[in-house]
């Protein structure tokens, strides 16, 4: 078996850790979740010489080993547990050359756990702009480590780093600081009580906040030593931090020279505009406008290609496969359903690209700074802005992005209101319904359909903000809200990093949605083509008019309709119809709504399956547009099913209802209880029902 080396990438947030990860592993990486939590676990493989493989773990960014969030806790838990299967053979501490002092605090802590370390000083290309000079051999000696200068602009350093990794057993693993320096009395006492244990490790365990950590602290309870109160512990932690800064300062005084006069910073100038109390907000609005412009204008070009591609695949299947229900399932159910999702890939990719660029550039933190006060009025944190914006793409990553919100109440409210934001899964439904019921006409250069679509986004946003306001009043929770946020340097995002994010997210979107659509299409198709009872088995007996008066085509159409109505799905649909009747929907739309509770985007595929089974078509390979079939749908009395009233009612239902199992699952994970997803589901669906009911009754 070839040799494997486990490497942990550790560092402060915003140090370009992920770029180093990407450079070492290329696309040779996979993302999974840590068991039990939704923190992303990124692992990649880096090939070294002589068949040796290094497993690189990109750990979440952290400022220290005192975890104050779930992300940070992952790092602490891994480093404290020697028996963990991913326990690293060595750690690469990634630091930002401009913030070396602060970054070294974490470095010295990891070193004190006796893990062999390499210090990667990243963004070294900025040294000359900042007037920074480093005496590397002095630093290597006094920090007792190997140092490598890295930059995201070139890859010249990767071979050197790979060499260092291969020879990790030559790396020093001595402690940096004697913990007794923090508080001699306390630590002597601690050592006396637990002579077997490593003193610093013990101290890190004691410091962990019980809210986040699963680190086992039980062994402390029975022990005969004085357990300090939380405030005393905090004082000790403060002492530790001060001590570390002192030692680091002493080293940097000789190992680092900073000539402020040589520093050129455009960051300060950019901040003057981007965080300005007027221009800052103007710029933010422009960015948002640009984002929507890109999503709705630029994305239409590739979307048209995808649309015609899927149309021709469907046509091809119909011509080349024997006609029958199976082919219909494949062509109209599965392929159309999946095409209904793939068509949104350009939009989703654009959205993730924008969000990734905004984050990587450091601009998102400025938005948080600008919006914090306003968001607080609604019971949210400035940090809620980023998840809310991401919610326009998909609620799932958005909910995961709430993890850096310090206050639990603010975080919970953000999680609860995110699903109101118009996610991309609503788009397929919106587009088809808007095209059906809203006239494609312009008044004063504004298209009605565009206005309708924009209104739906605004409705979603207002619903989110307004319910946050109500939740803030209702939820009786102690709120200790703080905001401590780094404002990172502005950076030009690397195309490579952005691309990786976009590919990764888009891929998982298609795969996840594809699975659900496939499963639901097959179940639906089965339920719609099977049934019991005489009406299903002998539909010709129940045709309304004399058979002789009908053409073959008319006869088949009517028989298909009778069969569908008496199939399993028809029976289910008829049973639930009374619930949806007041909203203006027939049983087929009702079935569409029910299946949408798995995922909203299934709606289009569901209708495609149902309408295609019903609409007998003998012209093989003829392209039938779902939109046209829907437009012709009538009830028994010949009234159109999709009218302005029922259409708007349907749009509003989708705007408010909680129809996404994956979101509910993620909310359960993040809030660690079924209570919140259950409340979210019931309240949102109730609101959807009531609003749609009122809308339909008023308009019709």
């Amino acid at each position: 078996m070839s040799k494997q080396i486990k490497v942990a990438l550790i560092g402060n947030p915003n140090t370009g850790k992920t770029s180093i990860f990407n450079s070492l592993t290329g696309l040779n990486q996979k993302t999974a979740n840590y068991p039990g939590v939704t923190v992303e676990k990124k692992e990649g493989i880096c090939k070294l010489d002589r068949g040796v493989k290094a497993h690189i773990y990109d750990l979440p960014g952290t400022y220290s080993l005192n975890a104050s969030s779930m992300d940070e806790n992952i790092v602490v838990e891994l480093l404290l547990n020697k028996n963990h299967k991913d326990y690293p053979d060595l750690a690469i501490i990634v630091s930002d050359v401009e913030n070396l002092k602060r970054n070294l605090v974490l470095f010295t802590q990891v070193k004190d756990l006796k893990i062999p370390t390499i210090l990667a000083i990243n963004m070294s290309d900025r040294m000359k702009y900042k007037g920074i000079e480093l005496d590397l051999s002095y630093l290597e000696n006094h920090l007792d480590t190997k140092i490598i200068l890295t930059t995201n602009r070139t890859n010249l350093w990767t071979d050197t780093l790979k060499d260092l990794i291969s020879n990790y057993n030559k790396l020093p693993s001595n402690k940096f600081m004697d913990p007794q320096l923090i508080d001699p009395e306390y630590f002597k006492n601690l050592q006396r009580t637990f002579p077997e244990q490593d003193l610093y490790k013990l101290w890190v365990v004691i410091c962990q906040d019980a809210n986040f950590t699963n680190v086992d602290k039980n062994f402390l309870d029975g022990a005969d030593f004085e357990i300090k109160s939380i405030s005393e512990l905090k004082r000790l932690q403060q002492k530790e931090t001060i001590k570390r800064y002192q030692l680091i300062n002493n080293i940097l005084k000789l190992g680092q020279k900073v000539d402020q006069s040589k520093a050129i910073g455009f960051g300060a100038a950019m901040d003057r505009i981007l965080t300005h109390k007027i221009f800052g907000y103007v710029f933010f609005c422009l960015i948002l406008l640009g984002m929507f412009q890109a999503i709705y204008e630029w994305a239409t070009i590739p979307m048209n290609y995808i649309d015609s591609m899927f149309a021709s695949i469907t046509g091809w299947v119909k011509i080349n496969f024997p006609s029958g229900a199976m082919t219909d399932l494949l062509a109209d159910g599965i392929i159309t359903g999946i095409g209904g999702i793939v068509i949104f890939v350009p939009q989703i990719a654009f959205l993730f690209m924008f969000i990734s660029v905004l984050e990587e550039s450091g601009y998102m933190s400025r938005v948080v700074f600008l919006m914090d006060r306003i968001m607080q009025k609604f019971g949210l944190s400035g940090k809620s802005v980023v998840p809310l914006i991401s919610g326009v793409a998909c609620a799932i990553p958005a909910i995961m992005a709430t993890r850096n919100i310090e206050s639990w109440k603010e975080r919970l409210i953000t999680i609860l209101v995110i699903p109101f934001m118009t996610c991309s899964a609503r788009l397929p439904v919106y587009l088809i319904i808007v095209a059906l019921v809203i006239p494609n006409e312009t008044i004063l250069g504004v298209n009605y359909q565009a206005v309708a679509l924009m209104s739906l986004y605004i409705i979603g946003f207002l619903a989110a903000i307004f319910s946050a306001y109500i939740l803030n009043i209702i939820l009786k929770m102690k709120k200790r809200s703080v905001l401590v946020m780094e404002m990172p340097n502005y950076k030009i995002p690397l195309i490579k990093d952005v691309l990786y994010t976009v590919i990764e997210k888009t891929k998982s979107f298609i795969v996840e949605a594809g699975k659900i659509i496939l499963a639901i299409s097959i179940i639906l198709w089965f339920l719609a083509t099977n049934g019991v009872g005489d009406k299903f088995k002998n539909p010709e007996k129940y045709v309304s008019q004399k058979i002789e008066l009908l053409t073959e085509n008319e006869l088949q159409t009517e028989m298909a309709a009778i069969k569908l109505e008496n199939s399993f799905i028809g029976n289910i649909g008829k049973t639930i119809e009374p619930v949806f009747k007041p909203l203006g929907y027939d049983w087929k739309i009702g079935i569409g709504l029910i299946t949408s509770f798995a995922a909203r985007e299934v709606f289009v595929g569901t209708l495609a399956v149902i309408y295609n089974i019903e609409n007998y078509d003998d012209s093989k390979g003829k392209q039938r547009e779902l939109k046209n079939i829907m437009r012709q749908e009538t009830d028994k009395n010949g009234n159109k099913i999709f009218t302005l009233a029922s259409g708007i009612s349907l749009l509003l239902f989708y705007a408010f209802a909680m129809q996404c199992m994956s979101t509910l699952a993620i909310v359960k994970k993040e809030t660690n209880s079924w209570k919140w997803p259950a409340i979210q589901f019931i309240i949102m669906t109730l609101i959807a029902y009531i609003v749609s009911l009122i809308a339909f009754q008023l308009i019709s």
């Binding site: 400022y63 005192n66 605090v105 932690q237 006060r373 400035g382 703080v482 401590v484 404002m487």
Partner: protein, 78 residues
């Protein structure tokens, strides 16, 4: 006694005392420690957060937190 919350945009001061009990440890780790220099870079409107530079770390904190960081002397900054 002044705190960071009393500083205006562009003003600098030296941190004198930090009430460790109520302040997130994270802030200390980011360099908010006695003896370090602090400069106010930007203030968000309507009593929003403060954008400060402590010891080379650029941070945003709310006014309530800023009140807990006692500063010593104001360095005249033109």
């Amino acid at each position: 006694m002044h705190s960071i919350a009393d500083l205006k945009k562009g003003e600098k001061a030296i941190i004198k005392d930090v009430s460790a009990n109520n302040i997130p440890i994270k802030l200390l780790e980011m360099g908010c420690l006695p003896g370090n220099e602090v400069e106010v870079i930007q203030l968000a409107p309507l009593l929003g957060p403060m954008y400060i530079n402590i010891n080379g770390s650029h941070l945003a904190i709310r006014k309530e937190t800023a009140k807990l960081i006692i500063i010593d002397k104001l360095i005249n900054n033109e």
